[in-house]
């Protein structure tokens, strides 16, 4: 057949597309269960990290069962607990929820029972950074006001700049901050130029990561507003 003719070209392109599509579809299907498991484990590790429980992929399932287990539920904007299974609450996809208006979202709550009997409420949050989504987990004390710990992660923020939100040094700042001021929701503000260590509602932003810092600030305010009714109960 004429190698430069239209017929050959079309045939070549069609065969190539079919072969490539088949291979990729097959690989994606075959690897999907492993990837899903990785994602779930990574999520559990993040959740536990917000209450300072370090875990690895090897022991996370066990630790999650021990500290949180079935104590996962969904609240609505009015702060009422919804009737859903823990697994369903765990699987709530925040990337979809975050696009809805505050009043229509479903808000998962992870209740963590620590060894010393204390209860922590872990709230997932999600928002926008500079290049893509950022998300995290904020653990509150029983007073539903003081932050016990927080962990953040991102999809593609700039390494060394915005990506610093996923470092311990940044996340440690959130410990002990409060989100209510005399019953008024003020969230935790990420302040450019820094704040004194004892400022109750502020943490230091990342130099060079202004848009990510701003995004994190907005994300916290957005989600604390959504959880406000639940937190005030």
């Amino acid at each position: 057949m004429d190698r430069q003719g239209n017929k050959y070209t079309f045939l070549y392109a069609s065969v190539m597309v079919i072969v490539v599509a088949t291979v990729l579809a097959f690989v994606a299907e075959a690897l999907n269960p492993i990837q899903k498991k990785n994602e779930e484990e990574a999520k559990m590790i993040d959740i536990l990290k917000s209450v300072s429980i370090e875990s690895t992929t090897a022991n996370v399932a066990e630790k999650y069962e021990q500290y949180i287990g079935e104590n996962v539920y969904i609240v609505n904007f009015e702060g009422e607990r919804q009737d859903v299974k823990p697994q369903a609450a765990f699987n709530i996809d925040l990337s979809k929820e975050v696009r809805k208006p505050l009043s229509d979202r479903q808000y998962p709550v992870f209740e963590c029972h620590l060894d010393n009997g204390e209860v922590k409420y872990i709230l997932p949050v999600r928002g926008k950074g500079l290049w893509g989504p950022i998300w995290g987990y904020v653990a509150l004390n029983e007073d539903k006001n003081t932050i016990f710990g927080a962990t953040f992660d991102h999809k593609g923020e700039t390494p060394g700049l915005g990506a610093e939100i996923s470092t311990d040094a940044f996340q440690q700042q959130f410990k002990g901050k409060t989100i209510f001021d005399n019953g008024e929701l003020v969230s935790v503000n990420v302040v450019k130029g820094g704040v004194p260590d004892d400022a109750p509602h502020g943490v230091d932003a990342i130099s060079g990561g202004t848009i990510t810092s701003k995004g994190l600030d907005d994300m916290l305010e957005d989600y604390f507003n959504g959880y406000e009714a639940f937190l005030k109960k």
């Binding site: 430069q4 490539v20 593609g156 700049l161």
Partner: protein
């Protein structure tokens, strides 16, 4: 076919492997692939993992294109090359997600950006389309290694002077500049983390290389 078979690592073949490391370096001499060299080099670890991913993609895309070189219709050859590169990149991404989840999270968007790395399309067009598979593999490896070499140097310099630490894959962050140096008044240069310093670091490497190898100096 010549009656005498060419040895796998003949001097001609070895040259394919070594010239991209120096005199034909894709970044410092051909000035290709600069975009990703700026983006991922704020830390050492992503630089290393990115280099390895590019090695994989370039070696295999060169190999596949070289195997198919006599069948590819010349009018759609760019599309064919792009499809091959894109599929390999998706493959790398999927495999990383399944078996090296942590690393894949770190590289995130940059893996996808390998598709747009000019070095890859450049080598496919300039070399793989006109050469046998084995030289094409060597050429791919050499060029990806040349790219990786610069990436690692830049990542090393930027992270060391920007944060005083170095991050290695599998080990994590290691503090290199000892505390006592900080007590003497040394301060990390935060500017090193910002993208412009990658350009300046690459510029310095180009300067050093050209002042040693006058053949590279373009007088026109």
């Amino acid at each position: 076919m010549s009656s005498e078979k060419e040895p796998l690592f003949s001097s001609k073949n070895l040259k394919l492997l070594t010239t991209p490391l120096g005199a034909q370096n894709p970044i410092t001499v051909q000035v290709l692939g600069i975009c990703s060299a700026l983006a991922v080099t704020a830390k050492l670890e992503p630089s290393i993992v990115m280099s390895l991913s590019v090695v994989f993609v370039l070696v295999f895309s060169n190999l596949i294109v070289s195997l198919l070189r006599n069948t590819i219709p010349s009018r759609i050859r760019i599309i064919v090359q792009l499809t091959i590169v894109a599929s390999l990149v998706i493959l790398v991404d999927q495999i990383l997600k399944a078996f090296a989840y942590e690393v894949s999270k770190q590289l995130s968007v940059f893996v996808g950006l390998i598709i747009t790395n000019c070095i890859i399309m450049g080598r496919l067009e300039a070399f793989a389309l006109g050469n046998k598979p084995w030289p094409a593999v060597l050429d791919g490896f050499g060029n990806a290694a040349g790219y990786g070499l610069i990436l690692v140097i830049v990542g090393f310099v930027r992270e060391l002077f920007g944060t005083g630490n170095l991050t290695f894959p599998g080990i994590g962050e290691v503090q290199i500049v000892p505390d006592i140096v900080y007590e003497w008044g040394y301060v990390d240069n935060g500017l090193m983390i910002l993208p412009p310093m990658a350009l300046i670091t690459v510029g310095i490497i180009i300067w050093v290389q050209r002042s040693k190898n006058k053949d590279l100096v373009d007088i026109s």
